[in-house]
Symmetry: C2
Subunit: 335 residues, 2 copies
């Protein structure tokens, strides 16, 4: 990267060491297939999953989150694609012997995963990390789940979702409990894409105040409803986040996530390489856009502005005979 | 806007008063037609220009920049649309009597406008502000031009383009000269969309250090190559910028500009109204996207990363038999 770039784009930026040396802290996590699966019921062709895995390896991306682990009880066969469950055989079909490549992560939602049964010992798994996703009121269960999964030998994070909907006091209490858990990482999760930079900084300070004394890292998972996913990711990194989520072409629910191509382009270093990401975005992920229809648009912007779940926007966009944007704005703006 | 929004998206944000009361400072400038004109040789139908003007008025947007003022010497008839020249009769056809609506701005590039001839006295014009666009080496001419235009009765800004390509020392010298000019406003212009937030903050501090003692305001004009146009605009506002440029649907050269719908959604107040912007974006501007093809994409991202003019990306995208993105990345990454 040229001097003129360094002297401008990254001027005044503190980028944690990502060189892989001792003391390096930064970890980039690709969750293209996991978050993108929310737009197609987790039905990705093996070729797509393998291409993302291969690109992550070539780009030096630290983790690839390949899908959810969830209970299949009461689920009809074919109701979801296999990346809703991430059976070991499905993952192994993609990652094979794994001589090289990213660590493998799966996500498990509190209440949707019988973790004692669904997650076996690390010794029999190609999975390296389990990310436990929960809402604030589920923290007690999440803590039990973290302990069980940690005891089985995995790295564990807690991804506390929809952080923009809870009060500061509730959040403090929740973080205090998570600080005493066995989680390795606690994530700031902007599920609704509603955060702007000063709030990113204050949340990061709050999370770090609880996480650092307990020896835990803090991560960031952003959504792009206000075209701030990349901005908020680098802002969080500046404020001390060391686990950074991103997805190829930003593929993810609704407005999507922080685009990996922007993040790796920005971090460009001896460790991360942009070219494999560019090729994956162009050849593998962008061709899915016509069908999966993720990305910034007025309906997702409006749910982000009003700090609401994107489901109303997803339904609005899927409706074949929808009204214009003004009635949608009107309905979302009601308290 | 609901409390939950205020408590999250705007938490910790200082939004300068935009109420129109004495002491208010914030001004939003729409440059949809002016910057968008770089994507269609300034050929907008009157209906489009009138719809943008009408939406700006209904939304409470302070200024609408309707195009360029430029010399027509040596130009063949039909070479550009009329918004390249903004004859008074063309502007008046759109804005009519102007009992209501935004102030009208035009842009004049140093070296492309015979300002002594092309810009008449304010008394005979519906134009309120002239924005003088120049590169660093053109500052001496820009200062002469500012004086001439100011003496004729207009508000005047200097838009110092491509700020990411000049050294700190050159910039200091340039700003010192502009501080002694008669310009009302000096703009931070990220022509290549290469700036990230810490650099926005340091540039704002530098511009304000020169502008404020001279009684001048500072503005921000951002491009979206790194999906940072909105983020950088609010960052600049936080740092003291009071003139904020944006365009409907982000329409503008290459990756486009800060989307007005995001900015007005964020500033939502008694002064600015989002609904007219939403309707304009949906009904008037988005339908132009298929033909004008502005907006974020890998080629523009790459020119932004390497701090280069977007023209190579525009040419690449216009080429019917183009190679993939990797050869483009390779060619742009060469020093």
């Amino acid at each position: 990267m040229s001097d003129s770039t360094d002297s401008n784009m990254k001027a005044n930026f503190r980028i944690p060491s990502a060189s892989g040396d001792a003391g390096s802290a930064l970890r980039v996590l690709d969750c293209t297939i996991r978050d993108g699966g929310l737009m197609n019921s987790h039905r990705f062709e093996d070729e797509v999953v393998a291409a993302v895995h291969s690109a992550c390896g070539a780009a030096g991306i630290d983790y690839m989150e390949i899908g959810y682990r969830a209970s299949r009880k009461g689920i009809q066969s074919g109701e979801h694609g296999c990346w809703r469950y991430c059976l070991e055989e499905d993952i192994q079909r993609i990652v094979g012997g794994r001589a090289v490549g990213p660590k493998i992560s799966i996500m498990a939602d509190v209440g949707k995963c019988d973790y004692r049964e669904d997650i076996g010992p690390k010794a029999g798994s190609v999975v390296d990390m389990v990310r436990v996703a929960c809402y604030l009121h589920q923290i007690p269960t999440a803590i039990d789940m973290v302990k069980d999964i940690r005891d089985k030998g995995y790295e564990v994070s807690v991804n506390l979702m929809a952080v923009t909907t809870v009060s500061e006091r509730e959040l403090e209490e929740g973080l205090a409990r998570l600080a005493s858990s066995e989680a390795d990482i606690i994530y700031v999760v902007d599920s609704f894409g509603a955060l702007v930079s000063p709030r990113i900084r204050s949340l990061m300070a709050l999370y770090l105040r609880h996480a650092q004394p307990a020896g835990k890292s803090v991560g960031i998972h952003a959504h792009n409803n206000l075209q701030l996913a990349f901005a908020n990711t680098v802002e969080a990194m500046q404020a001390g986040a060391t686990f950074l989520d991103a997805t190829m072409a930003g593929l993810g629910r609704g407005a999507g996530n922080c685009p990996m191509e922007l993040l790796v382009g920005f971090l460009d270093s001896s460790k991360y390489r942009l070219e494999p990401v560019l090729a994956c975005v162009e050849e593998v992920v962008e061709p899915l856009r016509r069908e999966l229809k993720w990305g910034f648009g007025l309906p997702y912007m409006i749910t982000g502005l009003f700090n609401r779940h994107p489901r109303a926007a997803i339904e609005f966009l899927a409706s074949p005979h929808r009204d214009g944007i003004l009635p949608f704005y009107e309905s979302e703006s009601r308290p």
